[in-house]
């Protein structure tokens, strides 16, 4: 028990000193700008590529909203299909490690 407590303490101390080391290192790569080529695109895809070129902020906000939304829609649809097949989707009987 005492041994484990000592190891726990040592690893905690090590992790606590990490921020100083890592913050001191700082830095990062040179920024690379990627521009979408909209010449071959039409309709929704062209609008999406233009949004990317004009504002990464709006593009990011929309992406962050769309991903969970689409996930929920597809998930609910798959749920509906599985429920229709007759699988119980609300409980799990297996209770063990």
């Amino acid at each position: 028990m005492a041994k484990i407590r000592n190891i726990f303490l040592m690893v905690t101390c090590f992790c606590l000193t990490l921020p100083a080391i890592s913050l001191a290192s700082g830095g990062g790569g040179a920024p690379i700008v990627i521009v979408a080529d909209t010449r071959k695109l039409t309709g929704l895809l062209a609008w999406w590529a233009n949004l990317y070129n004009e504002s990464h902020l709006y593009f990011t906000i929309l992406t962050i909203i769309l991903i969970p939304l689409i996930g929920v829609i597809f998930g609910t649809l798959a749920d509906f299909v599985m429920h229709f097949v007759g699988i119980d989707l609300k409980s799990r009987e297996l209770a063990e490690h």
């Binding site: 028990m1 484990i4 726990f8 690893v11 905690t12 992790c15 990490l18 921020p19 080391i21 890592s22 913050l23 001191a24 290192s25 700082g26 830095g27 990062g28 790569g29 690379i32 700008v33 990627i34 979408a36 080529d37 071959k40 695109l41 895809l45 062209a46 999406w48 590529a49 990317y52 990464h56 902020l57 593009f59 990011t60 992406t63 962050i64 769309l66 991903i67 969970p68 689409i70 996930g71 929920v72 597809f74 998930g75 649809l77 798959a78 749920d79 599985m82 097949v85 007759g86 699988i87 119980d88 989707l89 609300k90 409980s91 799990r92 009987e93 297996l94 209770a95 063990e96 490690h97």
Partner: protein
Amino acid sequence: MDWLYILMPIAGVKIFWPGLIILGIGVGVIGGFFGMGGAWMVTPGLNILGFPMAFAIGTDIAHMAGKSLISTMRHGKFGNVDYKLGFIMLFGTIAGFEIGAQMVMWLERIGNVEIVVRWIYLFLLTFIAWLVFHDVSKRKAKDRAAKAAGREVDALATGVEWHKTLHKIKIPPMVHLKEAGVYCSAWLPIFVSFFTGWLAGILGIGGGLIRMPSLIYLVGCPTHVAVGTDLFEVMISGLYGAGSYTAKGRVELVAAIIMLVGAAVGAQVGAVATKYIKGYGIRVAFGLAVIGCATSIVLKMITQWYPATKGILDPVSTVLILALVFGMALYITLKMVAGAKREIAAKKARA
């Protein structure tokens, strides 16, 4: 056959879209079953389909966020997600991840980043694989001993019991994690999440591969709860990562959405399959996945030591990963179908 290809508006490459759906289904099944994002499987897959590496990582993380949300919803309904544990771990994960990422920058400046990362990753995967199979063999030994004594072994019995020792550390505040059935110091999940987040930050992965076994062996969660809670973590970190990569212009949302079509079905299949497979069955399959991942890394390392083998071993590594993905996805799907058939037949018999 031009209709089978779609022009990606941001990356500017034409991609075989059915390939994206198939990849989505494969990693969706595995992710929903094991509770991980599966970046190590998706990134080479996207690369093969023709994505530039810069977009492959960002697109993978974006689809991972949506996929984990679907799996978390399903596992939540089965009672497999300990939200309290998930929220506690979130702080440690984010702090650890950021520090790990900063350390990579530091290692990059020294010039050793790739070697260090590959060795840490390999050591870690070997350790996890050993831990899983050591646990399984210990549990089997307990089973045999109980049978020899004419008893039945407790369903909640485990092979490796490190968590029991860690639960004896009573540093306040103490927390009761209802779904996980664990009473421990709040510092234990915080410390575990910080450590796993730090490793994930250094390795540049989502962290499910490390967090899932940590939840089982260090925090003491039952396998199903570890899977569900880990997916909750992957969902949050996936959304954070998707935001971060999108802001840097490295996400191809069209591809992520196409993958989500397949992943939505796959994630449901994987999550529902946990209903029919015992906790130790999940652990064994997880151990095999870890071995596959480790083998692909060894192959990559060999190509660095002997560049002449690159032409042969790089494709071998990619084929190995993809074969593993589809082999496992198929196995899990078959188990799920067999379980569902039994359940439906039993329902009909009762009616």
